[in-house]
């Protein structure tokens, strides 16, 4: 498995505020201003977090008028779950190259 790539996905997720953003988006698409209401930090900070989530392929954005609509990428979730499985399980791709 590609540790570098999986590491980037994990780092994008492993911030408490971004975890909450993902949790919020798991219910459906939201715009930035709706997201911001759930947090104590400033708008530029949200913008920064959303950029990180987008660059990691976790969230997609779409402008609708003045608003940015953010959506969880289902393809990311599938790939992520796949990586978690192969990481913890003693599969044929295991780094130790042992016979299972």
């Amino acid at each position: 498995m590609d540790y570098e790539n999986f590491s980037k996905q994990l780092k994008a997720i492993s911030d408490p505020n971004r975890l909450k953003i993902i949790d919020l988006l798991s219910c459906g698409t939201l715009c930035a201003c709706d997201l911001l209401e759930h947090f104590e930090f400033t708008q530029p900070t949200l913008s920064h977090h959303m950029k990180i989530l987008q660059e990691a392929g976790i969230v997609s954005a779409k402008r609708v008028g003045k608003w940015q609509h953010y959506t969880l990428e289902s393809s990311f979730i599938a790939g992520f779950n796949n990586n978690v499985s192969t990481l913890f399980e003693n599969g044929p791709e295991c780094a130790c190259h042992c016979k299972k």
Copy 2:
């Protein structure tokens, strides 16, 4: 869900070298010197990584003579998978508090 706690677990995992360590341990218990053979960094660096994994409850250690035997904590894996599920799924604990 406890974002702070899940964030700590994720941060402990989200380093490419620690991912590889976990992958290696998914095949079974290994000592530090066996682990070290798979990496380019120095022994103190491995020691540092193992400490982080232990403090996060991901790995347990047991001295056997001169060697430290490291084992993946199955309880961690169960809890981690649980957190991943509740994060991505629109469950009753979702941060948006919407009716499902």
